[in-house]
Subunit: 242 residues, 2 copies
């Protein structure tokens, strides 16, 4: 009998070197707000979303026809088209447009796993599309929490625990980080909002007036897309395949 492939959780980008990413299909998770915004922008019709680490890199892409998104201290940076809030993209006409977006944790995580078999991004807003696709992969899966400033965070761990719990029938769990994330999800399942409201990043975002963003990032299955990372950019694998 063939053994089911493993599913594992990496709790912080700092821990990525502990994994041989070449052996895995990797899901990068940065719920507040990068991987949520990626899903929104692709669902709104963007032909690609290119995460970049700096304002300078983002600005440079403008000259190549990209729309640009940049935020610092919760404010849209002057000279860019959008901030980084999911709401910015919900209301925008992105059909067929290329979008460059600055993120720190998310870009760092994507770069660190670039040698993986395949790389996609996940968030609550595209969770079912992600689960459906992962079930079709007959490979070990690594769920990478981008975290916040290299620290383990609540919202990414909770999402990783949710995904591992949903996939437990099809994949094998045999390490403690994954069990910890799944336990957390088990505890939080019916109290997700309560849990996240006690997370450090939540407080930070609320202080910055972004409570609406946080609520949005916790809603499930609003955007049935699958952001697939190749050549440094994300495309929606579901619409590309159609």
């Amino acid at each position: 009998m063939k053994l089911r492939p493993l599913i594992r959780v990496c709790l912080s980008t700092v821990l990525i070197p502990q994994f041989k990413v070449e052996d895995y299909v990797v899901v990068v998770i940065d719920i507040l707000r990068a991987t949520t915004s990626f899903a929104v922008a692709l669902h709104r019709g963007a032909s690609e979303v290119r995460p970049v680490p700096s304002l300078r890199a983002c600005r440079a892409l403008r000259k190549q026809g990209y729309l640009t998104a940049a935020e610092r201290g919760a404010q849209k940076v002057p000279g860019f088209d959008f901030g980084n809030s999911p709401y910015d993209f919900l209301e925008a006409d992105l059909q067929g447009k290329k979008l460059a977006i600055t993120t720190t944790n998310g870009t760092k995580a994507l770069w660190a796993v670039r040698g993986a078999k395949k790389v996609v991004t996940g968030a609550f807003v595209n969770m079912s599309a992600l689960l459906h696709w992962l079930r079709q992969q007959d490979e070990p899966i690594l769920l990478v929490c981008a975290g916040w400033k290299d620290q383990v965070n609540m919202e990414d761990t909770l999402f990783a625990g949710a995904v591992a719990t949903e996939l437990e029938g099809d994949f094998r769990v045999n390490d403690d980080a994954t069990l910890i994330a799944m336990s957390l999800y088990q505890l939080a399942e019916h109290r997700k909002k309560y849990y996240l409201e006690h997370s450090a990043h939540f407080d930070r975002l609320v202080e910055l007036g972004m409570q609406q963003d946080v609520k949005y990032c916790l809603r499930r299955d609003l955007h049935p897309v699958l952001p697939f990372y190749r050549d440094g950019t994300l495309v929606d694998l579901l619409s590309v395949q159609v």
Copy 2:
């Protein structure tokens, strides 16, 4: 009103550089089995317990009058006085003796936090002594999980969560790693054995025939000592102060 000091959890030795250890009283945690064995040996009367990273370093201390403890692959290494099982020290006459003991994760964690305000080690077997002493510290506390081969593990996270939960009234919690450890403890409190039996390290130890050791490492308050780290070695702060 004076703010209560912080209590934080570092989930793996790899994450230690994210903390400015100079600002903290640090507790190193390596439940299976290093910090458990340290407590046993000190309670049995050892005048000091010196953790060293290699067989060679351990052997060298023999010439300086140390008893030596070393294990590889669950077997006592020939030429050393003890293995690393808590049971080895329970049955030994250690009164006034110096003991050198090889550990990998534990030694690495102790070395990595050597710049902290104070460094002690904790385990379930000396938990109440630890809690009592920590409550007297008017400094931020960092609970460092040694983990296993740099990965986050269940037993150390659970213990950190237990300590943070017990101290929550006297200290402040404001980061996600600590909340995650506390949630795990909350879920596992009445099912600690169940939880640890599902941990990866547990399986490994049971396969090696060390189920008794694991059970011992989960018992609480058998050894009311406080292993205090200075000049590369551990002494029992409680008997030194008397």
